[in-house]
């Protein structure tokens, strides 16, 4: 009855379309297979096939790839500069962090380095993105746990950071800010004051989050002791980012393989030992605090230093006088035609960066042409996906959203 679909002139039954519904099926005595996702509040575009014995999960099989848009292949047929907006689509709310290692890998192959001011500007946007991405993760986590306030508050506060990024780059999410040899824009007048105001506001709000969410007894009851990743297992599975550090491993690319100006900035790497979902929440709160510290230092540096070119000489010296005039007046560095015909010397480079969700790594190989020969990306979420297979079994079904949300898994980033 409900399967009948009326079209103009013809009736087509549901069964004629041969569309299978979502079902659970019995695969043994007391053993059922349940499909969770890809249509699911918050889980977004990922399916986890779980097998349950009663209420206890005995096996979980993450079925990824619902957002696999074949970026690695497409990058092979596009010129180097087009890779930046392409890879940005992996995690558009974390755009600067995600594209930075690609830009740096190509810079490595070309043996150039961005000017110091551009490095500070990159760090500036990276940390703004990181905070926005953490807040996004909190919002999604709130949806998972049915905590609507925790969706509304971080998404409202995230707009502060998105607004700052928009002011700096011109786009809300897809900034395409770092380019080979530098960045696209300098800070506009009055930016650092607004930034400091945002930092003060955010510090106050973190305290509010603690009161309403992190120290909430209901949330604690759902998160404490759930999804524990022991330290040795975390290393063995190669999980990364805040999830790794919440398990007691002090590893952060900003510390272990410093890039840009992170070695000149003063910040700490927070580490928690418990490794459960609750520790991962605290980990993110602490990381936001550290990002705020970094942003303060960057704002001070930018205030002290006058405006100097933000593109490497290799690209900036060929710029027409008009471009240089525009840069001096507005701080916008227009990209010259040299980017479109750019060739990269043959070789291999490996570059990584710490995104909000963990380490992202790029393997870039060039054969000297105007297109990459091979780019291999392995993102943080793709590495964290192993958690579902190895950690989830043994938990109850109701723990799955808690684990999923605490891992801060972002499918487009994992699927590339």
């Amino acid at each position: 009855m409900s399967g009948i679909i009326r079209t103009q002139g013809a009736q087509v039954g549901f069964n004629d379309l041969k569309l299978p519904g979502m079902w659970s099926r019995k695969i043994g005595k007391d053993l059922y297979e349940i499909f969770i996702g890809p249509q699911h509040p918050g889980s977004g575009h990922m399916r986890i096939v779980i097998r349950v014995d009663g209420d206890v999960i005995v096996e979980a099989d993450p079925d990824m790839g619902y957002v696999h848009r074949t970026m690695e292949k497409l990058s092979e047929v596009r010129t180097w500069i087009k890779g930046i907006p392409l890879f940005e689509r992996m995690a558009i709310h974390d755009a600067c962090n995600v594209t930075l290692p690609y830009v740096r890998a190509v810079e490595k192959l070309m043996d150039i380095e961005a000017p110091e001011r551009a490095k500070y500007l990159r760090v500036l946007l990276c940390e703004i993105n990181r905070i926005a991405a953490f807040l996004y993760g909190f919002g999604i986590f709130g949806v998972f746990l049915g905590h609507s306030t925790m969706y509304m508050w971080p998404f409202g506060d995230r707009e502060v950071w998105v607004e700052l990024a928009e002011w700096l780059t011109g786009a809300r999410l897809t900034h395409s800010y770092p380019v080979f040899g530098g960045v696209r824009r300098d800070v506009p007048a009055g930016f650092t004051d607004a930034l400091r105001k945002a930092i003060r506001y955010m510090r106050k709000r973190l305290e509010d989050y603690r009161k309403i969410f992190v120290d909430n007894p209901v949330i604690r009851a759902r998160l404490e002791g759930v999804g524990v990743i022991p330290k040795n297992l975390a290393i063995e599975l190669g999980i990364t980012g805040p999830n790794l550090r919440a398990s007691g491993v002090k590893y952060d690319v900003r510390l272990n393989h410093p890039y840009e100006v992170y070695d000149q900035l003063d910040f700490e790497i927070p580490v928690f030992q418990e490794g459960d979902a609750y520790a991962r929440v605290w980990q993110r709160v602490e990381e936001i605090k550290q990002s705020l510290n970094i942003l303060e230092q960057v704002a001070d540096w930018l205030d002290k230093h006058p405006r100097t070119p933000i593109l490497h000489d290799k690209f900036w010296k060929t710029a027409p006088p008009l471009y240089k005039k525009i840069f001096e007046e507005t701080g916008r560095a227009k990209l010259g035609a040299v980017y479109a015909i750019m060739k990269v010397p043959a070789g291999k480079a490996y570059e990584r960066a710490e995104t909000a969700r963990g380490e992202i790594s790029y393997y870039v190989e060039s054969n000297g042409g105007n297109k990459p020969y091979r780019i291999r990306i392995h993102s943080a979420s793709a590495r964290n996906a192993l958690v579902y297979k190895y950690i989830v079994p043994g938990h109850r079904v109701m723990d799955l959203p808690a684990i999923y949300g605490s891992i801060d898994y972002f499918p487009p980033e994992a699927d590339r």
Binding site: G65, I235, E236, G347, Y350, Y373, A382
Partner: protein
């Protein structure tokens, strides 16, 4: 530790297994080995301190007729080693893409070997669960990341309209 020192230590660790070593841009070390020895090499590297696979890269050299499989190893526990990435690389012929799995040494290679399987059609012998992970099976049959699967970049899409 400088990259040269690390190369020396890896050479003394792996001994005759090492065919070639290259240092790329000061922080990426590529060690070429033979396909036959890969399991032993992986075990020794893990004992040495490279405790997880950061990334499994496969590069298709179509003209030369081989796939290059690179296990990029990283370290979490050892601060000095964590600065470097060591790529354990070996070649397999393009017409017979069969190799051994490192799943039992490095659990972190689990999904990545499945990815290499779906995108290049490389069969990792001994992998307990070798299915496509990202692609649906009909698309995986195309082996899309091989160089002979051509995706066209269509410049006319902009100029097609009059």
């Amino acid at each position: 530790m400088s990259p040269e020192e690390l190369v020396e230590r890896i050479k003394s660790l792996l001994g005759e297994f090492v065919k070639d070593v290259k240092i790329w841009k000061n922080d990426y070390i590529e060690v070429e080995v033979d396909k036959e020895n890969i399991e032993e090499v992986a075990k020794r590297m893990k004992e040495f301190g490279f405790d997880h696979v950061k990334d499994l890269t496969v590069v298709d050299y179509m003209k030369e007729g081989f796939f290059r499989i690179i296990y990029n190893l990283g370290s979490y526990d050892n601060f000095e080693l964590s600065y470097y990435i060591v790529g354990i690389a070996y070649n397999i012929p393009r017409d017979k893409p069969v190799t051994k799995t490192l799943y039992y040494t490095y659990t972190s290679a689990d999904f990545q070997e499945r990815e290499a399987y779906e995108a290049f059609g490389i069969i990792f012998e001994g992998h307990p669960d070798l299915r496509p992970v990202l692609l649906s099976p009909p698309v995986a049959e195309l082996k899309p990341l091989r160089k002979d699967f051509v995706v066209k970049e269509d410049p006319e899409i902009i100029t097609k309209k009059k």
